[in-house]
């Protein structure tokens, strides 16, 4: 009797343990579309305007990102509180069964999910209606109706007949980085869009000054500066100092975003008054993984103020119902912007170079680096001490590929989502970036429209090498096999993105596949990293239910380069209906 009781207890415990450890993927389609773009109603609130003091808005309350507090909080208080609160984090939440991010109000799978033509890459986030034709515009037809109210580069808002509103930002040659700003905006926006983020349409246009007409009474405001009148004299001064080609002013034209603006999204928490916003932003893979993209492009200014949310109302303006779309904004500091003017300030002898060379390598105030340098008496050579400005290419500041370490890249100050990026998040972004072929990198470089061909060639080589460094790091730990699908009902196929992108020579890759019980499977290999694995059926057409445990199988695939395998989870529905892929895992090491 006692033995039976013990047996029951032991068996029951085992069953409970097995049940707890049995994390089968259900037999269902992967979540490919999140429903956070569904129309929702938000609470209306008073939001007086200049023309309507009694206006009520039924959009979420606009959030104004506090410039100083965001920096101070992320440098000092948030890390301190999280340290003392022993705050831990896990894997990203919004990841579907195929280890991918569903389309959502934050992200749409583009180059990572389908092939992208060169024309589409070049178009970026622009619609055909947003492509400007300054040559065909009459003098005075482009109306400047607002001065720029934030940021540090000169610019103004323009209404272009038939095209809408644009923010025009001028390239200025005063800081040795002429042409870089507009090029960076255009190229980085195209990359962000291709990857899947929502971003504004950015183009480089060459405009004759006479096409503009300035409305009276405008003001402009730069960061940390008071309002200044933006009159004809100020406009003429900006035009005079801007970069030109053949008498035409080189301008970065940024199309106005659709919808009702409600300020940026934060990199942590949720927007309380958005019913669709339920995943803490620091746990969203598309925000965490953005860190790898930012490292490639040297987007050190990855703070919340450089994001933008708009409310897309079903019936226009700021009415309910509607939904929020989350944009990235202002990528003009990529590719080597120097945050502050080079050289010394003669009055106090201070050089900004110590700050500039640390950008992308250390936080603006980096307690860890400070403590390390203090404790080690500064005897270790630090990454920013390798930083150099390539002679003849001062435009790109300290942006180069030598000594670039994607894993150690840092933004200007800590970003809550970036800080929580896991290996899986990084690998996800790397699989997307692996789709940028060398030809595409060349096209992107040409989009910068640099005057000197040598500049384009240099820029292309740096961007390509940095991409290679990113892929070497993030495609060689977790399995880089993507595009996984079942073909012909009984072949599991995929593409080793590391091989396809040439992270290592093809002869370094050796593929092996097996069932989870160790029985080997045959791998057919094709050039360019394509593989297919023939799977003999283990279940019949009839008999057990479709989602029975007996039909559940796992295939493990290794490429001899990545440390971890790909584990594909399938249901064998029998010879007639074939295998159904229901899940993918990319563990760091195998645990079955």
């Amino acid at each position: 009797m006692r033995a039976n009781r013990v047996t029951i207890i032991v068996l029951g415990s085992c069953l409970a343990a097995c049940a707890a450890g049995d994390r089968r993927f259900p037999l269902r389609e992967p979540v490919r579309h999140d429903n956070d773009s569904a129309s929702v109603r938000v609470k209306c609130h008073d939001e007086p305007t200049k023309t309507d003091p009694r206006h009520r808005s039924c959009a979420p309350v606009a959030y104004a990102s506090p410039l100083y507090w965001d920096g101070v909080d992320n440098i000092v208080f948030r890390p301190l509180s999280e340290g003392l609160g022993v705050v831990t984090s896990g894997e990203s939440v919004d990841v579907n069964s195929l280890d991918e991010v569903p389309d959502s109000a934050w992200f749409v799978n583009r180059i990572g999910a389908r092939s992208m033509s060169i024309a589409e890459l070049r178009q970026g986030a622009c619609t055909s209606e947003q492509i400007l034709d300054p040559d065909g515009a009459a003098d005075g037809s482009w109306i400047i109706d607002k001065g720029k109210t934030e940021g540090s580069s000169p610019g103004f808002r323009v209404v272009v007949p038939g095209k809408g509103k644009f923010l025009f930002k001028l390239d200025t040659p005063t800081d040795n980085q002429a042409e870089r700003t507009a090029a960076a905006s255009t190229i980085s926006a195209a990359i962000f869009h291709a990857v899947g983020y929502f971003i504004s349409c950015e183009r480089i246009v060459y405009v004759r000054p006479s096409v503009f007409k300035l409305l009276p009474g405008l003001v402009t405001k730069e960061n940390f500066q008071p309002d200044k009148p933006f009159d004809q004299r100020a406009f003429d001064a900006e035009i005079a100092s801007a970069t030109k080609r053949n008498g035409l002013v080189r301008i970065n034209a940024s199309a106005w975003l659709p919808g009702h603006p409600i300020g940026p999204a934060r990199y942590h928490g949720v927007r309380d008054d958005d019913p669709n916003d339920v995943i803490p932003h620091e746990d969203r893979r598309e925000l965490r993984g953005m860190r790898v993209l930012a490292a490639w492009l040297a987007r050190y200014d990855s703070r919340e103020a450089n994001g933008f949310d708009t409310w897309i109302a079903d019936h226009g303006s700021d009415s309910s119902p509607g939904h929020v779309v989350h944009y990235q904004l202002d990528v003009s500091e990529t590719f080597g912007s120097l945050a502050f003017a080079q050289g010394t300030n003669a009055a106090n002898g201070l050089s900004w170079d110590p700050v500039d060379r640390r950008l992308n390598r250390s936080y603006f105030v980096d307690w860890g680096d400070l403590a390390r340098d203090f404790a080690t008496l500064g005897l270790a050579v630090r990454p920013w001490e390798h930083a150099y400005v390539a002679p003849g290419h001062e435009m790109f500041g300290y942006y180069n590929a030598d000594h670039f370490d994607a894993e150690k890249w840092k933004p200007m100050y800590p970003n809550p989502a970036f800080s929580r990026m896991t290996e899986r998040d990084g690998a996800w972004m790397a699989r997307i970036l692996a789709r940028f072929t060398p030809e595409m990198v060349r096209v992107l470089a040409l989009m910068g429209d640099f005057t000197a061909p040598a500049t384009t060639d240099y820029f292309q080589s740096v961007v390509e090498k940095r991409l290679e460094r990113v892929l070497e790091r993030y495609l060689t730990r977790l399995s880089p096999i993507g595009d996984v699908r079942v073909e012909d009902g009984n072949r599991l196929c995929g593409v080793d993105l590391a091989e396809r992108r040439g992270v290592l020579p093809a002869e370094r890759f050796h593929y092996a596949a097996r069932w989870s019980d160790g029985a080997p499977l045959t791998v057919a290999r094709r050039p360019g990293g394509a593989i297919c694995i023939a799977m003999p059926h283990v279940a019949r057409d009839d008999g057990a239910s479709d989602d029975a445990r007996s039909r559940y199988v796992r295939v493990i695939v290794e490429d001899s380069v990545a440390r971890g395998p790909l584990v594909a989870h399938l249901y064998d529905l029998g010879p007639r209906r074939g295998f159904r892929l229901v899940g993918l895992e990319r563990p760091e090491k195998l645990r079955l």
């Binding site: 269902r28 429903n35 569904a38 929702v40 003392l84 106090n348 640390r358």
Partner: protein, 446 residues
Amino acid sequence: MRARSFVCLLIAASLWSLGANADAEEESPKRVPPDYDGRGGDPKEDGAGVWVGRVLLSPLYFTSEYIFRRPIGAMTKTVEHNDGFRKIYDFFIFGPDHKAGIVPIAFVEFGFVPSVGAYGFWNDAFFVPRNDVRVHLEMWPDDMWLAGSVRDRYRFDDHSSFEVRANGVHRPDQVFYGIGPETPQWHQSRYAINRFDARAGFESRFWRRSTVELDGGVRKVDTSSGEYGKDPSLEVEAATGAFPIPYGFARGYMGPYGRAAASIDTRRHNVNTGSGFRVESEAESGSDFQHGATTGWVRWGGAATVTIDLNDRGRNLSLSVATSFADPLGTNEVPFTELAMLGGDKWMRGYFPGRLMDRSAAVAQLRYDWPVAPWLDATIQTAVGNVYGEHLQGFDAKLLRVSAALGLSTATNVPLDFLVGIGTETFASGASVDSVRVTVGVPHSF
């Protein structure tokens, strides 16, 4: 009839509700997060150690989060929302091009009265290009300590400048231990000083960091009883037989002075990298017309420094040897406040300013500076030295003392320092640590 009326009223009320309160439709509830992978996501389990840590640190966490972070965040956001930071900036740094401003400063040196004050600057002052005015005021109300300086410097170019300067200090807490190499720490006493100095000078940087300086002015000094904490004043300590009353105490002096200094420094100007060597010398003659036209003294000395930048990136190891002398001119002695001194902000920083004083001083210092952040350098330095009689009379290696200091310093026009230092007794007395010095803030000597 009644039913019809009731129905009409009901319809009317419903229509009114829809029209007048169209925006009172209920907001949508928060959506349920999807089960993205069908398995309830990756379970995150915090181990027991994490929970133990959370419990133990919870008081600190609550303090950090609810006493500091959230209130400071709310206040900062409110100030920022109302453009407060720009207004504060415009209040302290003003003028059309923000060429003038006032910056609050403070300095704490444990063992002395702290100070709070202001640093004022006006570049291109009086609308004269290259003419800069600086004003520096410090005080501590309780103890009536007050110091200030006004300086107007005209830069001819990037190499040379002419300056007119006046500074004064009144403070009651200056330290005195006696004169000579073996003054013990426990003879610490205090005296008050009133010092006023007005001068004009010329400086020229003729090659790299090599400079020539010439200046002259008038100086008036008075000393009297001082106080700080439980320390006795100088004359009270002298009455115990600890040391004789030094020459110049309670006597004061006033008169013109002249100073010349020159240095040859092979290191490049305005960069903190690169090896090199430096030789410098200085001489200053002072006088006391209050007590006779023939009363005067001369202070003179020099230093040689070799600096090696270990990797050409600002890790500077330097070895210096310095001597200074004070000799009377005429029949009277050198006032004790004009003697050769060690301690303070230049040599043997582990000691209080003026800790060691006599007719001559000799010191050797090994120093290592390295950058730890933009515009922030760390320093570690150790020195051996002491004061001796006339022209190093009585020099004995066993009478040397050791000073060591570790600190941080900003490389800005208004430097911010943090320093911890120690000083020892002489080797003959065992070289045990007998003084500790801690300073933080904007140093007086900038």
